[in-house]
């Protein structure tokens, strides 16, 4: 076999090597590893956020994974192919800037309508929708609960 043919085959084989191992990271606060893809099955292990598992397979609602040498099934809701993303820092910015941005966006609403070619009745409907209420939004964001309060609150649920 000549060198060119060998290179060709090696190139073809590359994706296989890359796909050899797939990992799933636990992104929920906690997650259970079950012996079967069922919440009714015995629990093999309890995992915490950020822990890495090796993906072995999947069905509609579960991933089969290997974790610390143990194989089991984990809910698809709890994991993701990427490790935890650094959370957004936008809320730390001042709202003034955001409201300024909102006003700026509102100022182009007419342009937007023109670009979309909306009929007059559609433009009327859009303007009747009402503007953003950032004061109410800040009140929503101000409602906080502590981890201890949440832990106490969830005590009545099935562990």
């Amino acid at each position: 076999m000549n060198t060119r043919a060998l290179t060709f085959l090696l190139l073809l084989a590359l994706p296989l090597a890359a796909a050899a191992e797939e990992y799933l990271y636990v992104l929920s606060a906690k997650a259970k590893l079950y012996t079967e893809p069922s919440f009714r099955a015995p629990v093999v292990a309890r995992l915490s956020k950020g822990e890495k598992t090796e993906a072995l397979g999947k069905n509609n609602y579960w991933f089969k994974v290997r974790y610390q040498g143990k194989e089991g099934w984990i809910s698809r809701l709890a994991v993701s192919p990427h490790p935890p993303v650094k959370r957004g820092s936008l809320l730390a910015r001042d709202d003034g800037r955001l409201q300024q941005q909102a006003r700026r966006r509102a100022s182009v609403a007419a342009t937007t309508a023109a670009v979309r070619g909306l009929r007059e009745d559609e433009r009327t409907r859009m303007s009747a929708v009402g503007g953003p209420d950032y004061a109410a939004l800040r009140q929503v964001e101000a409602v906080t609960v502590s981890d201890a309060e949440l832990a106490d609150f969830t005590r009545v649920l099935r562990p």
Partner: protein, 272 residues
């Protein structure tokens, strides 16, 4: 030699198909879309969602009762912990509206109406409705349907660019995306695929959190039979009920007998 080379090449081509079939590990569209999320993408998603959340509150007033809003927040946070978006801060609030409805905006903003609370029998049903909305957030259904596209089909690359953009075209495109999201929430509703995904996720989220996982099925069936004013963007269709029945049956969820927490719900929501 040429024949052998061709055969080898064909075998190598065929291998990935066989391998993926054996491992049965192919990421779905939304999983692929979450794969490359960056901090900037998340910032953009939250900013987009804040704009939409503020507009929802501009259209439907917030119910000004701190104790009730804190209660809904505790239920919502218990569910959000089960999801795969720890980078988001979830916020929950009651809207002062008699219709039976719930809304969510990208980035973690979830709203439920007083009408919906009145139609619920217990805390598990409240958890079910919040979980359904959390699922829309976590799967970025609005971001994807608003089709803010620039770099790719995931939407976020485009969204991050729009927020950072200063030109008129970027501003117009952002305003279009917000308009489209509002249209989706208040006029068109989600497409059926997104609704079915959110229903399934919500039911699994209930089981993971330790709530009765049949609660969404119960709630949808009840409001489907009632004459109450049900939000037309979340119709409790037969297809949704049938899909939930199949999920509950296949996973044996009705055998779990997890708590409904009816008494605490009555204490916190009873007279509201």
């Amino acid at each position: 030699m040429r024949g052998a080379l061709l055969l080898t090449a064909l075998l190598v081509f065929a291998l990935p198909t066989w391998a993926s079939g054996e491992r049965d590990f192919r990421l779905r569209e939304h999983e692929l879309a979450l794969q490359d999320l960056t901090g900037a993408d998340v910032d953009a998603e939250i900013a987009f969602g804040r704009d939409i959340a503020a507009r929802i509150l501009g259209r439907v007033p917030r119910y000004d009762d701190l104790a009730a809003n804190r209660y809904v927040t505790l239920v919502g946070r218990a569910l959000a912990l089960q999801g795969n978006r720890p980078e988001l801060d979830y916020h929950f609030a009651i809207l002062d509206d008699d219709s039976i409805n719930a809304y969510s905006a990208p980035g973690g903003y979830v709203f439920v109406t007083r009408g919906a609370l009145r139609a619920m029998a217990d805390e598990a049903e409240l958890a079910a409705v919040l979980a359904h909305e959390i699922a829309h957030v976590n799967r970025r259904h609005i971001v994807r349907q608003a089709r803010v596209r620039a770099r790719d089909d995931s939407g976020l690359g485009g969204l991050a660019r729009l927020l950072g953009g200063s030109g008129d075209s970027a501003r117009v495109a952002f305003a279009q995306a917000v308009d489209k999201a509002m249209d989706l929430l208040f006029v068109q509703g989600y497409n059926q695929r997104d609704e079915l995904e959110a229903d399934a996720d919500a039911t699994l989220m209930l089981a993971a959190a330790g709530y009765d996982p049949t609660a969404l099925r119960r709630f949808l069936a009840r409001i489907g039979e009632s004459k109450a004013r049900v939000g037309k963007t979340h119709p409790p269709s037969q297809a949704r009920l049938a899909a939930l029945d199949e999920l509950i049956r296949a996973q044996g969820l009705d055998q779990l007998h997890y708590p409904t927490v009816a008494q605490r719900f009555r204490v916190h929501v009873g007279r509201r």
